[in-house]
Symmetry: C2
Subunit: 156 residues, 2 copies
């Protein structure tokens, strides 16, 4: 068996792991609010101008509520849940596509009592995310379409 190809073909493994891919913390602990979420970098090749990552939340977990200049191209890969995108909350399920434009507040939540996992394509060179200010959070909490989601209990 060709050694190069062993590195080039990485098998899918149980529980949404991949051969030779490390499951890492989502972010540095304490750097931003998040819960029960992991990160696996599937492709980060200098020959490609984007990276492809897989993020997975355990039941009730969530990603950081944030926004940034760079865009995200997301495909749900495992399970279902909800995402906050701008001034709305929407249900998402396996293989749905989510486009997160520049400077759009976004957050994913595993609201269905089971893991929620998604692929995220992103430019390799990108700006750092911005967290919401107290004022931003108050404005979002005042939006009835977002309020329940932000408390962790979106409409089913």
């Amino acid at each position: 068996m060709d050694q190069d190809n062993d590195a080039n073909i990485r098998g899918f493994q149980p529980d949404f792991r991949w051969q030779d891919v490390e499951r890492m913390p989502y972010k540095e602990e304490g750097s931003a609010p998040f819960k029960a979420i992991s990160r696996q970098v599937l492709f980060a090749d200098p020959a490609l101008k984007c990276e492809l990552r897989y993020f997975e939340m355990a039941a009730e977990g969530y990603s950081t509520l944030e926004r940034h200049e760079h865009a995200h191209a997301v495909m749900i890969l495992r399970g279902e849940g909800h995402c906050l995108l701008g001034d709305e909350v929407r249900p998402v399920k396996q293989f749905d596509l989510v486009n997160i434009p520049a400077w759009t507040w976004h957050q994913f939540r595993a609201t269905k009592g089971a893991p929620l996992g998604f692929l995220c394509m992103v430019n390799a060179q990108r700006d750092r995310p911005q967290l919401p200010s107290e004022q931003d959070l108050a404005a979002m909490a005042a939006n009835p379409r977002l309020a329940a989601f932000l408390k962790g209990a979106p409409a089913a």
Copy 2:
């Protein structure tokens, strides 16, 4: 429902289609050898330096045998089959990862009597593929690890 979000969240539909995504021919007919394969562009946003496409072959279908300067980052999304990568043929199944480095001959085949579909991340700006010469094909056909695959009948 927010009109922007309707465009930003595109639901997965039966038979590996997506809302508002056109299923297109793989390539221009006659431009290169291929069989029973379609193309759906899932993300092609000027804000992102890569595109994410979904290619699907019907049973016994295959992509073009080709190589190029640009790299491909592939994830099998549907079914199973085989791929030729350099001087080897390897089985691939749902969610396996395939890295196709620069100037590496590659071809996918739906060898299992069912569709084979995969995601392909690629730089938005890229060179055109190169097809094998008669000499290239003869060299590949002389490799016992590739011969059966090239005739459409890889080892199971």
